[in-house]
Amino acid sequence: MRDIINAALDAAEVAGASYADARVVDSSREELRVANGVVEGVEHADSFGIGVRAIADGAWGFASSREVTAAEAVRVARQAVAIARASALVAGTAVRLAPVEPARGTWSGCCAIDPFAVSLEDKLALLLAADEVLCLQPEVTLTEAHLGFYRERKWFGSTEGAFTEQSWTESGAGLVAYAVREGEVVSRSYPNSHGGGWQQAGWEYIAGLDLVGNAPRIAEQAAALLTAPYVDPGTRDIILDGGQVSLQVHESIGHPTELDRVLGEEAAFAGTSWVKLEDAGSLRYGSEHVTVTADATIPGSLGSFGWDDEGVPAQRDTIVRAGVLESFLGSRETSPLLGRASNGCMRADGWNRIPLVRMTTVSLEPGTWDFDDLVADTEGGLYLETNNSWSIDDKRLNFQFATEIGWEIKDGKLGRMVKNPNYTGITPQFWGACDAICSRKHWQVWGLPNCGKGEPMQVSHVAHGAAPARFRNVQVGVGR
């Protein structure tokens, strides 16, 4: 692979590139889905190709191909340089990259039991067993159980002398129980909604989820939701479970601190940010309880790697410290605007996409509360669990989330179940109202395999460490 990458890099330099990098990506994906006792899909997909990114005349160009040969690598590299020259026709300031020591070496993620080596029979047997348990609940008329596995091997080289090889495996699984009656459908998911739980791991992660053991609980809750009331509109104190906190971090802290958004580079599609470059070091983002880190070194996290797709080593950075904005998610092109080196957040969705600023593992650091103590400390309010829907404006200020399920809190105790509770807020006010976060005992890394950004669309695999947290005086029951 080194020869093919070098052929591309040499061709780019000969064609006039001042910088070029090339990535070869070889990926495989396996998906198995069962619905209502029927196998809905058993699918295996492979993708292989090369992408070359080049700077010429101070501007970027990128070209890619599914043919991974030296001859095609040369053609693609020349095309990337020609595209860069066309970019220069409508250019701004010439692109400058922060210096980085050329990366060399190999890296691989955690994986004890290769999930691609586990038989399809065993995988389907697990799904069918869990699905069968879901179907035992009479009110549950629709069920879904799925397993997913992803493996990637990636080679990266640059004209600065970098050459790395990385490989990792991801495993995921999830169950959904739907209870349906005339004019109503409610759902409960385990271990998370929108794709289930995911880790950079092997079959050992799936085995540890105990899908069959958790199926009765979510089926019973789905059935109970049919007759549960909606939340009365108003302002309440809310405690969010770790999964919902992780999505709240993703949407209202992760995305708005991506430097490309801050600089307007994503304005037309995903939007910009309410945060400005000059806010670093001074902006009050949340309460003193809110400390947020971006860490690409957490073993087993979907947000971990050896080097990002610019060859910058994985690292941990503090984005918000005790409520004050301290840093951003950056790249070799954007971080110098802060007078800093890149903190290594550039990642691409495959060989045919350019790297963009993406989250790594962006986490709300744990607090000190035990969950039971936090509930006991809450006089009146709601405990909300498992995301159901999400929406946020183009500056990442006004958001509205709904969860699958909630429970009223009265006099420090969990009480009546409520269905599909939603809440809305404005980002800095909401994080400013965070007055308690549960301890590391309740903290876990939540994998999120479906973060969309960019044009052409790229889907990134990121993660968030989060524990349950409490927010005061939040508007709930919107539009109900």
Partner: protein, 450 residues
């Protein structure tokens, strides 16, 4: 880049290879793409990419067991390995007693939807278009962001019952967001989609967005509540797409998750609302067959407010005992069938006439980040962006800060009181909606950007 004939031949060869591997029935779906996208922001090109790819999806059937495998490695050994993986998956899956078998061949019209000008629209042409789009913003002290994209796509389907179709198409797309720098600045939006890149009037597109941005500066607040709204086509497309996503599928209908379940033949929307799927219309984009190679006849989904039928593929048509509407997605998928060529019928008014008929209301250029809170009522929440205005006494007056809505799409369309003559394509060349502007007399805004 594979030609349509080459893609069809590859699909047939893959079907034969899958049968040799032990499948009782086999289907191959070939996609090939040559595309390029020039992105701009802050009045300059910031990303510029090109891609060549091709992919083969193999569906193998053993009895009533189905397996799927996909690859973009097109050498014989890799294709054979993919066929074997599909057959191995099929052998292991428990039988689905409802699987009706792969469908047989039918005549499919294959219109020419390739525009030579799009094939020739190279990086320099895209840069020239970007410069023209940016110019009106630059002249007004605004910044422009957006994209100019061109694509050449080939889709072919073959199966062991004789299905053998293939078609090439092109698409050209441009979007522009113009915006000012200050916190109180406005923003404006315009978009273009056509098979033919030569129809892109780049300067006019940039001007439309820039003028909207200037006009929407210094927005004011609006209290939450129910308002009359006029939705521009881009905003209507979001509502139509979500109706389709959660409500039009034969699967959702069968499982009781659609607003149409139990209500076929009933009036569910205003009699001004007619929605159909029309892949074969002369103006349509996309291919004229579905991903099982079945023809896509015109399908009436909502007729003058009455729920007519959900869409189907071969599986859900058999299960529901309804005709196959040719709405299959690539197998396997958890959505079921989906219409990809939606149209909302035009009315008899202009957008200006709709606005003129409103005493007090809100005009929405487009929505942002819409999501579903309740699938049965298609309860949606999202934000407005890039040109939200107060309508007072029939005129657009003050620009408004972006508003959050929490609104049932079905209920919103039940309160439709006006539809424009003019319609626009919104989406991508492979699946665009053709939509008018609408006047809705009741629409719930529930919040606002600070």
């Amino acid at each position: 880049m594979l030609t349509s004939q080459e893609a069809r031949a590859l699909a047939r060869a893959t079907v034969a290879m899958t049968a040799e591997t032990g499948a009782d029935e086999a289907e191959a779906l070939v996609f090939a793409e040559s595309s390029a996208l020039t992105r701009f922001a802050n009045n300059r090109i910031n990303q510029n990419v090109a891609e060549e790819n091709a992919q083969v999806n193999v569906r193998a059937v053993v009895g009533k067991r189905v397996g799927v495998a996909t690859t973009n490695r097109l050498d014989v050994a890799s294709l054979r390995a993919t066929c074997e993986a599909a057959v191995a998956a099929a052998r292991i899956a428990p039988a689905d007693p409802d699987f009706p078998g792969l469908p047989g061949p039918h005549d499919v019209a294959l219109p020419d939807r390739v525009a030579p000008a799009t094939l020739a629209f190279d990086a320099e042409a895209r840069a020239t278009a970007v410069a023209a789009i940016i110019a009106p913003s630059r002249e007004r002290g605004l910044t422009a962001a957006g994209k100019v994209r061109v694509g050449h796509h080939v889709t072919a389907v073959a199966n062991s019952h004789g299905v053998n179709v293939g078609m090439a198409l092109t698409g050209a797309q441009a979007t522009v967001l113009a915006m000012g720098a200050s916190d109180n600045a406005g923003s404006g939006w315009a978009s273009f989609l056509d098979a033919d890149a030569s129809k892109l009037a780049a300067g006019a597109l940039g001007l439309e967005a820039a003028e909207l941005a200037v006009r929407s500066a210094n927005p004011v607040a609006l209290d939450a509540g129910d308002y009359t709204v006029v939705l521009a086509p881009e905003a209507v497309a979001d509502f139509l797409d979500f109706l389709s996503y959660v409500g039009f599928s034969g699967r959702a209908f069968s499982e009781g998750r659609s607003f149409m379940t139990g209500h076929l033949g009933e009036k569910v929307m205003s009699d001004l609302i007619t929605i159909s799927d029309c892949a074969g219309a002369p103006h349509a984009t996309g291919v004229t067959f579905d991903f099982e190679g079945q023809p896509k006849p015109p399908v009436s989904i909502i007729d003058r407010g009455i729920a007519v039928q959900p869409v189907t593929d071969s599986y859900w048509a058999a299960k529901l005992g309804r005709p196959n509407t040719g709405s299959a997605l690539p197998a396997p998928n958890s959505f079921g069938p989906m219409p990809l060529n939606l149209e909302m019928a035009p009315g008899d008014r202009s957008l200006a006439q709709l606005i003129a008929g409103v005493k007090r209301g809100v005009y929405v250029t487009r929505f942002h980040y819409v999501n579903v809170e309740d699938p049965i009522t298609v309860l949606l929440t999202g934000m407005t962006r890039d040109g939200t205005f107060m309508i007072e006494n029939g005129l657009l007056t003050r620009p408004l800060k972006n508003l959050r809505f929490t609104q049932s799409a079905v209920d919103a369309l039940a309160h439709c009181e006006g539809v424009t003559r003019e319609r626009r394509f919104v989406g991508t060349e492979e699946g665009a909606s053709y939509v008018p502007g609408l006047l809705l007399s009741k629409f719930a805004f529930t919040g606002q950007t600070a």
